[in-house]
C-alpha cells in the first residue's frame, strides 16, 4: 500500500539527523587532525628555510643537514597535496550524486 511506502520514507528521514550529527563530530576531529598536520608541514618548511639561511651565512657548514631538511619539507608537502587531492575527489564524488 502507498501509506506503508510513505512510512518507510519518513523513518529514513527521521534517522538522517543522527547521521548528520555523527558526520559533524567526525568532521571536527578530522579538521583538528588536518590543522595539526598543516602546522607540522609549516614548521618543517620554516626549519628548512632557516637551515638554508644558516648555511649561506656560514653559521653551519654541514651541507647534508640542509639538504635533508629541504627533502623532508618537500616530501611532507607532497603528502599533504596527495591527501588534499583524495579529499577533494571524495567530496566531488559525493556532490556528483544526483538527488
Amino acid at each position: 500500500m502507498a501509506v506503508n511506502g510513505i512510512s518507510a520514507v519518513t523513518q529514513m528521514v527521521a534517522s538522517l539527523p543522527a547521521t548528520g550529527t555523527a558526520g559533524a563530530a567526525d568532521g571536527a576531529d578530522f579538521g583538528q587532525i588536518l590543522a595539526n598536520a598543516l602546522e607540522e608541514i609549516n614548521t618543517q618548511q620554516l626549519n628548512s628555510a632557516k637551515m638554508t639561511d644558516d648555511f649561506v651565512t656560514g653559521k653551519t657548514d654541514s651541507i647534508h643537514e640542509v639538504m635533508i631538511a629541504a627533502e623532508e619539507a618537500s616530501i611532507s608537502l607532497q603528502l599533504a597535496m596527495e591527501v588534499r587531492n583524495k579529499v577533494l575527489d571524495a567530496y566531488q564524488e559525493i556532490m556528483r550524486m544526483s538527488l
Binding site: S62, H64, I68, E71, E72, I75, Q78, L79, E82, K86
Partner: protein, 147 residues
Amino acid sequence: MGYFSAFGISASGLTAQRLRMDIISQNIANVNTTRTESGDPYRRKVVTFEEKTGGDFASYLEDASAGGYDAGGGVRVASVVEDQSPFKEVYDPGNPDADENGIVKQPNVDVVTEMVNMISASRAYEANVTALNASKAMAAKALEIGK
C-alpha cells in the same frame, strides 16, 4: 613520519664520516709538525665511533608494543684520542728541534695509512648518501599509491 628516522640515521652517518675526514685532513696537514704547545711533536689523532641508541627504554618499549621496531639512532662520535705509538726518530742535526744527538722526533703520522683511511671515509660517505637516496625513493613511491 617513519621515513624521517631513516633520514636521521643516514644524516648521523654523514656527520660522522665528515668528522673522520676532518681528523684525517688534520693528521695529513701536521705530518711534519715537530713542535706543538706541549713541546712534543704532533700526535696522530684517531676518532672512534659508537652506535647511538634510538632513545631511552620507555620509548623503545612503546615502539615495540605498538608493533614497530627501533632500529637505532645512527652513529655517534665516542671520542677523539691520540695514537700512542712512538714517534719516528730521524737523524737531522740541522733542524732547530734536534736534540743534542741530532735526532729529531717526527710525528707518528703515516701518510699512506691516512690516504687509505681517506678513501674509506669518502666511500662510506657516498654509501650513506646512497642509503639516504634509497629511503627518499621509497617515500616518494609510497606517495604514488594515491595517484
